[in-house]
Structures are given as C-alpha cells and as structure tokens.
Amino acid sequence: MRAAVAAVVRKDLRQELRTLESIPAMALFALSTFVVFHFGLDRDALDGDLAAGVLWVTLLFATVLGMNRLFVAEREQGGFDAFLLAPVDRTAMLVAKALVLFAFLAAVELVAVPAYAILLLGPGAGQALPGLLAVLLLANAGLAVVGTLVGALAVQTRARDLIVPLIALPLSIPLLIAAVEATAPLLQAGGAEPLPGRWLTILGLYDVVFGLLAYAVFDFLLED
C-alpha cells in the first residue's frame, strides 16, 4: 500500500507543480480575505479571540477551495478508473489524497500565516509561532481528512461547487471551535499565553474520529 500511496502523492504533487491549479488560488484567496477582513472590521491590528477567528475562518474557506479541486482531475481524466483497475487497496487513495491536501494546506499556510502576521497582527506575534505550529499541524490533519471525504462525496454530483462548502462547513465546526480556542491565547495583545492543552486534545480526538470514519466509508465512494 505504501508504494501506491507514494505513487498517487507523487503524481498529484507533480501535477500541481506543473499546472499550479490549487495552491496559488488558495493562497491568493487567503490574502484577499485578510484584506476583506481589514476593511470589513475596520481594524488595523487584531488580537486574542478576534485574531484567532479571522485566521481560522480564512484558512477554512481556503481549504474549501482545495477540497473542490482535489478529485476533479481523477474524475475528468480517468484517474479513478485507472486506480480501480490497479490491484491496490482503495484506502491508498484516501491516504494519498489526505496527504496531498495536507501538503497543499502547509504550502498555503507558509504564505498566509506570515502575511497575516504582517498585515493584521501586532508586533511580537513571533513568540506565538511554536504553539501555533502545533495547532496548525493538528487542524491541518483534521481538515485534510474531512476535505478528502467531502471532496470524494461531492465530485460525482452535478453541483459540486455548491455541495462541498455546504457539507464541509458544518462538519468542520468542531474543528474550528477547538482551533480558535487553542489559538486565541497565543495571539493575546500582551504576548503569547501558554497553549491550552485541552483544546489540542479535542483537535487530536477530532482527527482520530474522522480518520477512522473516513477509513470505514471511503471504499464505498470508489466502488464503480
């Protein structure tokens, strides 16, 4: 299975590098959303709850863009058929696509988080970085799993662009709650406060539950 996962991941990353379909769009979307929030809230610098909320809402919406496109190439260019013909475990597709989405998110955040710090956070935001990395890691894993599941559910429908956000947003609300609660103390105006462990636990729990759930049902989405 490892070989199959590696092959699909390699193929997807190479395709993304050549076509640049998802990552630039997601990053650009995140940047535009920061600007929109600046004018919408009419604030020059954010801190605490509000800063955490703006960051996570933006990342969540950017992820939805990525979910939309995740399986499109497989469907339109026969990737599903080729994968089903190959004698490999179907879970390999789930793992590979989740890893790809995770990589996309990491790449987007590499641009979006520093940009956010420059555009909307006050000075001294750098000390929040180690804690923020932990939250980003756990939340990305959850978003990647949910995104893979929702992307696979929606790719065969007629109204894909509509179905993905409609399903993905309610499903990721527990993740959003935990991520915002965990990030808020890091972005306090007076300097970063310690990372709340209980919200990291919830993020981890969410990842595990949705990971198992996706593992259990994903096969049925590929059966054709």
Partner: protein
C-alpha cells in the same frame, strides 16, 4: 410491504399525542420560575430527542444498506432523515419561542444544545441536495448512505465539542430532566412517547406512500408494454430513492 399495522399505529400515536397534550395543559403543574411558557418544554425537548435519534437511525440504516445492498434500507434511511428534518424545523421554532419568552431573545448562542442542534440540522439539510444531484440511482443510494453514516457519527462529536466550548464561560442553568418533580416527569415521558410514536407513524406513512408510488410506476410500465427492467437512468429524475 410497509403498510402493515399502519392503522393501529396511527390510532395509538394519535391517542398518545392527545393524551400528552391533555396532561401538559391540565395535569402538569405550572413552573414556579417560568410559568406557562415552560410548557413548551414538553414539545420542544421530545421533538429534539426524536429528531436526533432519527438522524442517527438514518446513519444506521445507511450502514445496513452498505452491508446488504438492500434498497429497502436505503429507503428507510432517506425517510428517517427526511422526517427528522421536518421535526428539526419544529425544534428550532419551538426553541426560538422558548428562548424569546424566557431570555428575551429569539436566539441565544450560550445554549449549547440549541447551537449543536442547529449545526446538525444544517449538515443534514445538505442530504437532499447531495442525493438528488447524483444521477445514477445506485450511486445515489451509496453516496447518500455514506453521507448519512458520517452525519450520524458527527452528531455526538458535535454535541461534545459545542458543549465544551460553552462550558468554560457558561455553566448550564437548565440541566437534565432527571431532577423534575413527579407530575412533570410523568408528563414529559408521555409526551416523549407520543412524539416518538408520531415520528414512527409518519415514517411508516412516507415509506408506504413511496413504496406504493414505485409499485404503481412499475405496473404502468408493464401496462404500456415496456420491458420490466428499465435502464436505471430512466428513473433517476424522480424525487425519491428508487427501489429495484
């Protein structure tokens, strides 16, 4: 197939619902704190419990459909979620009225149960858009089952997360129903049974109606001399899950 015992079930649930309302208005004492408006509790809470159980039941029938491939389970899953959505509208409306009467606002975000319910409701409201934007009936049933399973598992997870988020700032004021005084608890239990019976009855009616429509279509097709087993695409546009 689905119509058996429908008459006695309807009579039983009509009797239970009537009895429950009689108890609510003539037997249960007025709440010392909230007065008359508290009586909406006997409608709101059973509706919410039944709707949530219906969503979870939809997920369980989804599992059974995926395991057996029996279209009757898919139909049951669809009907359970459909009826739960209708009950869900009732939950949100009665919850809103209760919130307005006792807290002065139509919506309060610090009532975790109500907020979690809204999130679950919004998720399951996507069930039909997802289902009916897939053309192939077999794939439609399979994808809908996967969605129902994910949604059913999401219900407890979501309630835990939302409750934890609120518990930090707002300790729950109105806690479990187990500490109700005797007459109130009795009324609540009867109301609960009535609403649950109503839910099962409505589900059975919808199942019977859908089944009858399918039979009728099949007979009409036979009458017009078409082959009995039509290509699946011909039936894909109907607004209901199809039975083979």
């Amino acid at each position: 197939m689905f119509g058996r015992g429908l008459k006695s079930l309807s009579l039983a649930s009509a009797a239970l619902v009537t009895g429950a309302f009689a108890l609510v208005f003539f037997y249960a004492p007025l709440d010392a704190d909230q007065g008359f408006i508290q009586k909406i509790f006997y409608l709101h809470v059973p509706l919410a419990i039944v709707a949530l159980c219906g969503f979870v039941a939809g997920g369980i029938y989804g599992i059974r459909y995926l395991r057996t491939g029996d279209r009757a389970h898919d139909l049951r899953s669809y009907v359970a979620i459909h009826q739960s959505l209708i009950f869900g509208v009732g939950v949100l409306v009665t919850g809103s009225i209760w919130a307005k009467a006792s807290w002065g606002h139509w919506w309060v975000w610090d009532e975790p149960t109500l907020v979690s319910f809204l999130i679950v409701f919004l998720l399951f409201a996507c069930y039909q858009p997802l289902r009916f934007s897939i053309e192939d009936p077999e794939r439609q049933a399979r994808y809908a089952a996967v969605f129902a399973i994910v949604g059913g598992a999401f219900v407890p997870l979501n309630f835990t997360a939302v409750r934890m988020a609120e518990a930090l700032t707002h300790p729950r004021t109105f806690d479990s129903t187990s500490n109700l005084p005797g007459p109130m608890a009795l009324t609540f239990l009867v109301a609960m049974a009535g609403i649950a019976a109503l839910f099962v009855t409505l589900c059975k009616y919808e199942l019977a109606a859908k089944h009858a429509t399918m039979r009728l279509k099949a007979l009409k097709r036979r009458l017009s001399g078409e082959p009995a087993a039509l290509p699946l695409t011909q039936r894909a546009r109907s607004a209901a899950p199809q039975e083979v």
